[in-house]
Symmetry: C2
Subunit: 585 residues, 2 copies
């Protein structure tokens, strides 16, 4: 053992004790007659002291030559510090060093190993092993481990069995693109890496395992958007003989437990909202309900607004931003520019100020007199001091735009407090979603989601109206979990595949095993999956999932530290019976 104690362990009660410590040189201060070194390990920092009076000259010299991030082992005695440091747990003591062993020197690190580093993202990713030495990253990884362990402990105690499902499975064209793995032993054939263990967990239910969970890596070969990873981690869960209510209860219990155990926060029963309601009230199926600013649809009092942009719009809807009536013209213009950016795509924005003195002013004074503005303010339940922001246009687009604006205003007003947690169940999702490009419907959740009882026939007449026993758990405006009650009979599954555009042959080739399984006594079942990366980031009060992944990939799917992906030997390619297709060049 290289140490008797960690660098975070020694206290006043250890004074007088002979100790051996090992760790990294965080920094040293050389005052000529005395040298102090901060020695760091995972557990903390302990101050080492060398001085001309008590330390042998060679040792003092040796201490002087230790650079940042050198790894050393020291033996010495714990002594009380003359000037104590109340900011660190070991601040009352220091170690008077009697010997140093240099375990490994270090080049000068490419960025400082401090809480606030001078290293940019790229550099920190290339030297991720140095980045991990920094407290914020290290603490994030420890936090992630703690969350995962709390999940496992809770679910195990609740009778769930963690079952490992296979990583080398079969490619299916449904959903995102699969990563595929050529088989050397089965020429011309590929495995695929799972986008989720969906079919396997359903088969475990058919197999009678009753309560399953797994914390498991999943893979999607998507063009990466910001903060998406090609490999990501799910808390994947499934239960048999349950209805939606049972799933919501169990996993609300899990989430409450995590908030309590990890954050020390007690939260009562989670509110629930249908998908339709969430879209109407927040323009979003994962609303952030830490703050208000709910949507107010506007209707003309006298049959017409008398304002063409409103009158010709499918939807006129606004939010009332509290306390922002004082916004300057410049600030409001910036907001108008913001909603007009291509990422948001609004054509314009109408604003109405409800001034503190009760007067009203707006960008549409030409079309609305005081009474007209008052009517708007009344519909929007605005109060003096509020700034009303109104968008108009096609329903879905306008809601999406206003939802983005609502989030932006909350951001500006500091209402997205990472220390506040506001969970919400969104339920009754549509079964199908229209792909506007192709005109085809595809499964909103996945093709195994069950339509609400009695709504199967509606698939033929009004597919967009069919609702599913599908639910999302939303936390602070993020979907952290989603699931559904599944189809468990072959007949319904066949109808579903048909509506998703599968021929019977295609359905059989891809999911024949599942439909066959349904014929041998499949129980009713359902489940949920949480995105662990996102969940951990939110619980940690942060936005970026990359900060909670030990070795993340960048937006091109590259690991810049190990430089992967990389070319492979021709020999290796040949063994896989493959060659490069030059026609795609």
């Amino acid at each position: 053992m290289y140490r008797s104690h960690s660098c975070g362990e020694l206290r006043e009660e250890h004074v007088g004790k002979a100790v051996t410590l090992a760790g990294w040189v965080q920094k040293s201060r050389d005052k000529g007659f005395v040298v102090w070194i901060d020695l760091r390990d995972r557990y903390g920092i302990t101050q080492l002291v060398f001085d001309a009076e008590r330390t042998a000259p060679e040792l003092l010299e040796k201490a002087r030559n230790l650079g940042r991030e050198f790894v050393i082992q020291v033996k010495g005695q714990v002594i009380e510090r003359a000037s104590k440091n109340p900011n660190i747990p070991t601040g009352n003591i220091e170690v008077l060093v009697e010997s140093i062993q240099l375990l490994n020197p270090s080049l000068t690190p490419p960025f400082t190993i401090e809480n606030d580093t001078d290293g940019g993202e790229d550099l920190r990713m290339k030297f991720r092993y140095l980045d991990i030495r920094r407290n914020p990253v290290k603490e994030n990884l420890i936090f992630r481990s703690k969350v995962a362990m709390a999940v496992r402990t809770y679910l195990s105690a609740a009778g769930f069995i963690e079952v490992e499902t296979p990583y080398l499975i079969k490619s299916t064209p449904e959903g995102a693109r699969d990563f595929v793995v050529p088989s050397r032993m089965n020429k011309g054939q590929f495995y695929a890496l799972p986008q989720s263990p969906q079919t396997f967990k359903q088969l475990l239910m058919v197999g009678g395992l009753d309560k399953y969970f797994q914390i498991v890596k999943c893979f999607r070969d998507e063009d990466l958007r910001a903060d998406r990873q090609p490999e990501f981690t799910q808390i994947d869960c499934e239960m048999a003989f349950v209805e939606q209510e049972d799933i919501l209860n169990v996993f609300e219990g899990l989430t409450k437990h995590l908030l309590q155990e990890i954050k020390g926060i007690s939260i009562g029963d989670f509110p629930r909202m249908t998908y339709d309601e969430a879209m109407q009230r927040y323009g979003n199926d994962k609303p952030d309900i830490r703050f208000g600013m709910e949507f107010c649809p506007l209707t003309p009092t006298g049959g017409t607004f008398g304002f063409n942009i409103f009158d010709s719009a499918e939807l006129v809807v606004g939010i009332s931003v509290p306390g922002c009536a004082h916004y300057t013209r410049k600030k409001i213009d910036a907001l108008i520019d913001w909603v007009r950016r291509p990422q948001i795509g609004a054509k314009g924005m109408v604003w109405v100020k409800y001034n503190e003195d009760g007067s009203l002013s707006s960008s549409v004074n030409k079309f609305f007199d005081e009474a007209g503005l008052k009517a708007i303010a009344k519909q929007m339940e605005a109060n003096p001091g509020d700034l009303m922001l109104i968008l108009a246009g096609e329903t879905h687009k306008t809601r999406t735009q206003l939802s983005a604006l609502r989030m932006e205003m909350a951001q500006q007003l500091g209402l997205r407090d990472p220390k506040v947690f506001a969970p919400l169940w969104v339920v009754d999702f549509p079964l199908l979603e229209l792909d506007e490009e192709t005109g085809h419907y595809h499964a909103m959740h996945h093709p195994f989601t069950s339509p609400k009882p009695g709504q199967l026939a509606l698939l033929d007449t009004d597919p967009g109206a069919v609702r599913a026993n599908a639910y999302d758990l939303v936390l602070n405006g993020n979907e952290i979990g989603g699931g559904s009650i599944r189809i468990h009979d072959k007949q319904t599954q066949s109808v579903m595949f048909k509506h998703l555009g599968f021929t019977p042959e295609e359905a059989k080739a891809q999911f024949g095993f599942l439909m066959e399984a349904f014929q041998y006594g499949a129980p009713p079942h359902g489940g949920i999956a949480f995105g662990l990366d996102r969940l951990v980031a939110i619980l940690g009060g942060q936005e970026t999932i990359r900060d909670f992944i030990a070795f993340p990939k960048n937006n091109s799917g590259r690991d810049v530290m190990i430089d992967a992906p990389a070319p492979i030997d021709d020999e290796q390619l040949k063994e896989l019976h493959l060659k490069w297709d030059r026609s795609t060049e």
Copy 2:
């Protein structure tokens, strides 16, 4: 909720209670005026009863028509059984059914869902979801989950952090073949699936995480031998600032904990043995020490045996099999045939019987008189009643052959008791192993293993003699864990790569990131990895790891249930910039 109680829950205290159960029809007995159904779920079996007296005729009729594996929900009342069944926990009660809801019918299963099934391996694998309904398979999966949870609880309490390392990494030619994953976004490049998280866990130590573990899938594209899987699970661990002794202590602690927690068995300190000693005493680096029959090398008393086969052999070595002197000629001939099989490859076997009456007889009476046989018996410390089996030839081969014979004899004698657990540390492994085909040395453990202090120079003069701080944990003749103290400086790692035949350029291209990391203050570190599949099988008292994997692959690497691997679309291939190489056909 489909049930008020599980099928394993009801006892006499519930008599009189109205309950709702759901599960599978295990079997039914129709005595005309009364029908009994065994209803099964994950938790047990509850007997349902219907009779002409108390049950409505339509319900009785409905019950009669329920087939095996139908999924039903029943409501009824718990009543005391007339004839109790002491063999099951619910045997004192039955449920008098008032209503049945058929949740899903079932085709007749292709094999019986019983503890002893009539289904062959192939059929059971194709319908694995039905196989999992059988108690032995279900219990194995629950057992596995329990072991994994116990590992996590123990290591977490000991301060280990579970960190997820990436699955999409870089291909390295070292070791077995990698599975590779073509990158769509990075044309001409591949990821590889990890054979182990080795380099990443070392980087976590460089990153200061100090104590790491992970239960993680690993992948090897090997030609599969019996009971090998292309994807397998490791308990992967690493610690910083440790010496071999520290690792052995921590993971001996873990193993003791598992034996205690899972099996209720207390085991004292594990014996340790060097690799050389294990080879000498058992001809094997993973000896089964549940029984004796240690190797006795024979040396001629007078300079020569006077028996050419022995005299010309590099090694003459035997085992003394207790109580087998009575073996018939036929039985012994069968053993001779057994060692001569190509899998074993011995040319022949000498046997000497030490009869109960003290007399000796042998297959080499022509060459050894009574005194000669006595001398052999003495050297072998044989006792009356023992059967001595002796092989001769080249040292390594002969040891391997005799080791196989020793295991076979133990098998025949019932000495491989799955309820007895005999762990053993084998230490001081050779650093390198000579590949007899190529004449090159390769790393016995892996290229990151540290030679014993002071032995680096020996690499140039006698590479085979260099020993490593490498260790295996052996349990009942199986290597369940293996690890080493790692190299942590660039210089030593470079020397190591050179000796393994890497050019400096190759070493840099493949492991440059690791060698670079070693330059920034890498701490001394080491670790171990356990094979979870094997560990669970042995703790479960069984031999076949497949029985402890939910969805295993067969010996051709196929999942016969989902029929993977499988061809993919030409479109998909094209997106990956690949085509089939016809020249390999």
